[in-house]
């Protein structure tokens, strides 16, 4: 399936960094969902580079909905969003040395040199603009059913953000913040550290923590379409994500069973767990508690410092010094991509479980 994810609700991505456009086809989304262009624009703005801590490339991300929306709502048939590439400076790129940490080498091996190499081509983070736009529709659909997604920069450049204390309020705030943190002071520290890295010609990484509330219990499959499997599958497609963990994740490995298990309790007659070390998922199936996961985002591979490399033909070692416009960190921009990805996966899982109408819009809303 390659550039497509999902089986009931699916998204396909296409486009290259320096081609005519990037885009997404969102198929299988329920009909009647109000498509909020303002939300799409907002989400795209959160992904867009901004200020000194981002690349100087400026894209307006003007998007065009080519199909699948009629009278402001989803039709239920494929919804295609096109985002033309405006600010491409191909002169900055040529088939030079292989950029360490990028897909230059692997793309060359796989596509035998026929790949569009300009700016990373189809491997560019630019494609996540399309994913973000499609994800905004999924986010809107989930909201109608009371399911909310929010992500914060839990770590960046070695600095830790606070943890969720009042998710209901905090999630809305995070979704408005260009640099999403729970503790703004920590966010300021992070940005300072990013700028320091940039000045050193270097880059930093971080960890994103995502919370999903309102997810009904009983969604996901044992062996092999666990909710963790489906989410991780899609999340590992987000560029620079090199680790995914649910609940306490790797920290669980250090705990004893008596600390890791979440005791069941009754709350207003509803079965819940007192703690949520398992991140809302048991046996691969949602248990009705908030879903919590973290993604490790590696530092941007494009750095100004000179690097050891090999030429594209693989015949000569050479020193690589990157020109062009680069992000000293992408973790804060990847945030909205992770939200979108998670929302798309959840729409798929919900439609598989409850049918294609479950997310359907209400004519009156």
């Amino acid at each position: 399936m390659k550039n497509t994810f999902g089986s009931s609700v699916c998204v396909s991505l296409f486009g290259e960094s320096h081609g005519a456009a990037v885009g997404a086809v969102l198929d299988g989304m329920a009909p009647g969902i109000r498509v909020d262009e303002e939300l799409i624009r907002h989400q795209l703005s959160l992904r867009r580079p901004a200020g000194r801590i981002s690349t100087a490339r400026r894209e307006q991300d003007a998007f065009e909905i080519v199909s699948g929306v009629f009278e402001g709502r989803t039709t239920g048939t494929p919804l295609t969003i096109l985002i033309p590439n405006a600010d491409t400076r191909s002169g900055d790129y040529r088939r030079g040395s292989l950029r360490p940490g990028h897909a230059d080498y692997t793309a060359r091996v796989k596509y035998h040199g026929f790949e569009d190499y300009r700016g990373g081509g189809h491997f560019s983070g630019r494609i996540t603009a399309a994913l973000t736009a499609a994800g905004a529709v999924a986010i809107g659909a989930l909201r109608n059913r009371g399911i909310r997604v929010a992500t914060h920069v839990a770590r960046c450049a070695g600095i830790a953000d606070a943890s969720f204390t009042d998710p209901e309020m905090q999630m809305d705030q995070l979704n408005m913040m260009p640099f999403a943190v729970l503790d703004e002071a920590k966010g300021a520290e992070m940005r300072t550290a990013i700028e320091a890295a940039a000045e050193a010609g270097d880059s930093v990484g971080g960890v994103l923590e995502t919370m999903v509330t309102g997810m009904p219990a009983g969604v996901g499959e044992p062996w092999f379409d666990t909710l963790e499997s489906m989410l991780a599958h899609a999340l590992f497609a987000v560029p620079a994500v090199k680790g995914v963990e649910f609940g306490d994740g790797f920290a669980l490995a250090e705990k004893r069973g008596s600390e890791a298990n979440d005791p069941f309790i009754l709350q207003n007659g509803k079965t819940m767990t007192r703690t949520n070390h398992n991140g809302g998922i048991n046996g691969g199936i949602s248990n009705g508690m908030p879903i919590l996961f973290r993604c490790a985002v590696k530092p941007t591979p494009s750095i100004a410092l000179p690097q050891d490399s090999v030429n594209a033909e693989g015949t000569r070692e050479e020193k690589l010094t990157l020109a062009g416009r680069h992000d000293p960190a992408i973790v804060h921009r990847a945030r909205v991509v992770v939200d979108s990805t998670a929302a798309l996966v959840l729409c798929d899982a919900l439609a598989l479980r409850f049918g294609t109408d479950w997310l359907k819009g209400d004519p009156a809303v």
Copy 2:
């Protein structure tokens, strides 16, 4: 697809802990691969509980190959392995309180009480015996093409194993060890800690680190079938796995780009990387370096200590004290399950890339 993984080489799992049998159907495996029953038996023995650090349940894991093997080799059509359940003591189990950390509650919500609850039913780790047997065939197929997989207990109960220093030699050793560690002294410490947890009526978790050597470059797909996506998808189906990371994984998030990037070098005319922080995968595609990943395995949820819980009907809080036979740790047993899972995923990825004959056996061998 639920209980099936893969698109060209696929594995389907079935069975319940206390049913007649567990089993696997392996479909799409190339023809002509010698099926080494000794290897299957060996792999099953590595998964089998043993000694004081494991459950007292004893299964001989006698397996029967029901289809897909002819004159000792794969036919190319579905290979079905059946492992009858012998030592089932259903009396130990009844539809009692929901066991924290298990799938009792989520299975009940999803299957409306119709699930076979005995011993966890279809969610039981017992099903991994079938996965292990099918995986042994995949491991054998990969070996024929010079691809090897090995896993060690990198952490357990807070104790860290050594790292790979001489993979070629160490991988073979690991594959023979019931408790696979690179540093046997650390392994002894771990076992002592497991026993201590067992005596306290508790359990411990750990981290498994897997290395794959000999993987050709150029395998995997951008957006969304990255090699990381495919591996993580399947690995998160292994019970108790709550985190997956590739290369330096979450540690990468703490590094700068200049530390995280793997510089390209030429070695005997071949493009390689000097370091392997990215775990052999760039842009979702294998780069020819060893593939390295780690799985966080949570502590066994079944513990002897009393736990707070709720009855199966969700009407009453009650104290749960588990009878039955339980593992104080499963990380060392999960090792071979992870190897099998990885091998199956890689066979699928290779067949998708190079065709269904690529793993084909040689009539002469």
Copy 3:
């Protein structure tokens, strides 16, 4: 996916004609459906050869449900049915000349001679016993929701059966008849013609016509998972099926639009069509009218008459005279296989549309 069909409700087939067993894994079926072993037995008896018009091979088709049924009902997890092969006489088969009309040659090219060639191996019609058993569960599930499937031998050896006149009554009758026809006199003629072909060392084919009533409107997908696409996909896997048509099918090609269109009418406030030339499907989606399709079944390729052929190694032309036990017609036996296949496809389509619980059993029933 190869030997698996379906995405929400899936069936996987395994086994060989002369191996230990044939079997099926039915995954994704809703929980709580009463599994009627009597119905499975009945369906298997309809598929089983009988009397002078069938092969002399006698299989009791004793089946074993290995997983997925608990206290007489589906659990919602994989349901595995195993049918051991009892009456295998491998001596009748050896790697001889390529049998015309069979898969001997194509299997050899595809599997490089590693295939189990005995009795057609995995390509044998014997595997349809497993499909029939799995299909019986699907048929039972559909019945609970008022959806019924029935097939008759519409043509055989040039003799045409009558058409449906009173489906409600006729469908039940057909499902009890070993040789399913609407006009018993025509059935007798057909059997005489089959016997005549058998005496001539030859075989005959036929056409099966299937009706499905009670199917809700709105199921199926445009571009490419039309209900016709899904049904045809699975039906063309039934051995010997070489044509599939819906509604008036090929006869529609001879009509004018004014004759082919089904006018809409209101009946008790419900939108229906006056005629059903389109077989209950418009634009790939069910319209609430009975679904009607026909399958062309070619004559059994195994005949006693000598045939021109080539040896297995492809080095020498030679005359082939088949020993062994063969059917002079399979169209009447294929009937229940077509019913099963259709039922499985419809369960999948319904689960995709309305969710995995739609077919769920009622605890009280």
Copy 4:
């Protein structure tokens, strides 16, 4: 998967008759294949209505390749083709009575009235323009490997075309003809009959016969991804196709085994069959002979004659008289859609069998 077909080479379709554009994403096509825009234009011209026997709607079908082509060749990443809708006259359409034979009713049930109903919306034959454009790339890729596809109007309005006698020559000719027949005199008769139907306010259907030469043996899967299953799945998505048969198809059902079997012969040391009643496929796998299949195309449902119908709300029976521009026949236009569909399916089957590089272009060509 809905609007996507294929697993290694996949095509996704989007767009509506009166929306901004229709389009296709072709994913998984091998890299380095020269993209012949002239061929795309030519194929689109064959699909385009022309002369008195077609709708008066005139689309230039100017297409734009948005992604996946670099320096004139496929990159191996998703190739997106956009065809803007120019000549849309939405005024001709309103949510009127349900048009018999169309998807108006089923779309309404499925999408709850949120569908774009104008001109059939996403169900319009207009979407086949995108399929044709994507198919042209597949046709070009197959040609590079010596595989050719051609289709003729085998029957139309009760008039039969001749059969293939010299495929090699005839296939090239067919691919240049706007109204593809083997016997031009018969073609002239057909066109006269179409005009007669048009004058009567009616429409006619027909049968398309497709031949594929150069297909290697050993492609396709038993149970359930037979080559027939894959082809039929995609072909039944082509609007108006109501029947698909392979080789002699339904006529096989009337034959005896001795007539239906294709005897094996040796020709220049190669195993072939003397006849080709099975259409190049045995046991679901290609046998190296030409693949031959036929599609039944129903008469265009849009006719000028008044029809009985029901209003969109399903509350009132009413007489429907269609305004707008309609085809008295589409069988001749559907021809290139069938070619494209077949080519895409074969590319998928070949890539699954032989790997993603098998169709790869040669840098020198």
